[in-house]
């Protein structure tokens, strides 16, 4: 993959069966990032995981009253960073108020955002033009 910017723009129904597709695209992008000098296999897994977790998060926060609701996922590949934006139409939540998992008494859920925050370099969740946007940046140091 050359270093010029690439953008992948996906819109999926709010159904979990599409998680594999979205994650697999991230994994393939990670494997092909020639500018990344670190462990590309690990990066590929991490992009798969982060896209999977961010997408299920958006599906969970989606508008259940509307079966036609969709989640939009944009992946931008720049020379020095991969930028992921996941848009949902739900009520939103406060990213800062989501606690870290209690590692001594782990619960069965609540690890998804922890993975995103731990494996990526920047995570924000903001409201833009009537949508919530989870923006995730991984720098390719």
């Amino acid at each position: 993959m050359c270093s010029s910017d690439i953008q992948v723009d996906l819109i999926i129904p709010t159904k979990t069966k599409y998680l594999d597709l979205i994650g697999s695209i991230g994994e393939r992008i990670g494997k092909d990032l020639e500018t990344f000098t670190g462990d590309r296999e690990a990066l590929a897994y991490h992009l798969n995981l982060v896209l999977t977790e961010a997408t299920i998060n958006a599906i969970k926060h989606a508008n259940y009253d509307n079966p036609e609701d969709t989640v939009r996922i944009v992946i931008q590949i720049q020379e020095n960073a991969v930028i992921i934006k996941v848009y949902d139409h739900g009520q939103g939540f406060d990213l800062e108020s989501v606690p870290l998992p209690d590692f001594e008494h782990l619960k069965e859920n609540g690890m998804g955002l922890f993975f995103i925050k731990s494996l990526m370099d920047s995570v924000t969740y903001t409201r833009q033009n009537g949508c919530n946007v989870l923006e995730i940046i991984k720098y390719l140091k």
């Binding site: 979990t16 994650g23 296999e41 798969n48 299920i56 998992p101 782990l106 069965e108 998804g112 993975f115």
Partner: protein, 112 residues
């Protein structure tokens, strides 16, 4: 989710036959394990050799099985984890919760 269950050395060994465990199929895995426990199978080894990818909901399904076997004086152990899958257990420190074996022989030997 495609699963095979075998009785080996007194254990219920659950072979996961898919490459990916995520929020689309982790609910099936969780229910399958809870059904096993309800039927009295409380010494379980989950063999993960084929699994290339697990997300937080997959970890949650296994943790649910672990807690429910422990509550019945049994246990749920794991074997044959691929390196990237193992790294998810390490990141969440679940490697300190589960007994994790390189393969089934090691799992059986640990009990003999």
């Amino acid at each position: 989710m495609k699963l095979n269950l075998e009785k080996l050395n007194g254990y219920s060994v659950l072979f996961i036959q898919v490459e990916r465990i995520d929020a689309h199929n982790s609910g099936d895995l969780k229910e399958y394990i809870l059904d096993m426990i309800e039927q009295g199978e409380v010494n379980i080894i989950v063999q993960l050799e084929r699994v290339r990818f697990i997300d937080s909901s997959g970890l949650g399904a296994l943790l649910s099985g672990y807690k429910n076997t422990a509550a019945r004086s049994g246990k749920l152990a794991l074997s044959n984890l691929q390196p990237q899958v193992l790294s998810m257990f390490e990141l969440t420190r679940l490697n300190r919760v589960f007994e994790i074996y390189a393969d089934l022989d090691e799992a059986f030997a640990s009990e003999s």
